[in-house]
Symmetry: C2
Subunit: 173 residues, 2 copies
DNA sequence: CTTGAAATATAACTAAA
DNA sequence: TTTAGTTATATTTCAAG
């Protein structure tokens, strides 16, 4: 049994790009740009949501404007006995962890962390290091975002990828 | 002249949390939950946008559903003569780079990269390594997302931070 | 795709703190 | 002066044809 192919066509990609650029755009407005009626657009958006292509709509917020001026990536090294589910629990235990993943390489996990200040970040690190199984951490503090939109996942950086249908083809071999 | 304090109050934070959870929520609906009329909500949202607290509204898309099944973080080491603006240019030159930043530590930059397949990723790496000033790279391929929402920046992981006004206070010293 | 009724966005105006 | 409520109108949503 293969995973169901979502079957996203050119029109869907354009609609996705428009919704990524502005999630509050009206179906009428989107329809005008893609040459479709509003109900037709709505049907496609509903289908993209049902298919799990669109997972939701969100406001993008400048973390600094809310007092979260620090950002860092932290590699976590665990005891070899650490069950993989434990890191997931650790990630949920600390609200400052905005993303967590297992990765290749020496480290067992990579954490994306936001904090108010260096001092706050230091306390978060201490909290994480105090977790069972966590042996040591290796941090990289973000200095400057080099791309507009800054944070990945804001959707905007994904848009260029949508504009290249040829690149989306399944690669041979 | 100090930077203007955005002055985000409790009500704003609730509205932000609701918009992060669903960017297409109607002002009437938001108003019901915070005890405000629709125009009052709109005025606040307009102000949050004008203040740069809200930078936009975006659809969150599952990259895998579009054929982007690979994700990696790549540390880039440059020649000491590399101007900082060059990395920014490199980042813009490769659409697979969804985020790029300068960081503390040995590496000069950290890239967040999305690719269709391992083979595609390898070719992207070769392209980046061929850039002037880039001396070497060190990659960490993402294996499993440990938090729901996966990607950071989707807004959802930021929501818990909004729920903690006490944590948002400016820290002494 | 088109239609039409219900819901929504939004501007102008008014009222209150 | 700043913020919210009310009203009025254009627009949008959405189910049905």
């Amino acid at each position: 049994m293969t995973h169901l192919p979502p079957a996203v066509d050119e029109l869907d990609r354009t609609i996705l790009a428009l919704l990524i650029a502005d999630a509050r755009a009206s179906f009428v407005d989107i329809g005008r740009r893609v040459g479709l009626s509003a109900p037709a657009v709505k049907r496609r958006v509903d289908r993209l949501r049902a298919n799990g292509v669109i997972t939701g709509f969100t406001a993008t917020v400048r973390a600094e404007a809310l007092g979260w001026g620090m950002e860092a990536f932290v590699e976590v090294y665990c005891d070899s006995a650490a069950p993989p589910s434990r890191m997931s629990e650790v990630a949920r235990n600390h609200p400052e962890i905005v993303a967590a993943m297992t990765v290749t390489g020496d480290a067992d996990a990579l954490l994306h962390i936001r904090a108010r200040t260096i001092g706050h970040f230091e306390r978060v690190l201490e909290r994480i290091r105090a977790e069972p199984f966590v042996r040591r951490t290796d941090s990289r503090v973000v200095l400057t975002q080099l791309l507009p939109g800054g944070d990945s996942g804001s959707g905007a950086p994904l848009r260029p990828l949508l504009d290249r249908p040829a690149e989306n083809a399944v690669e041979p071999g």
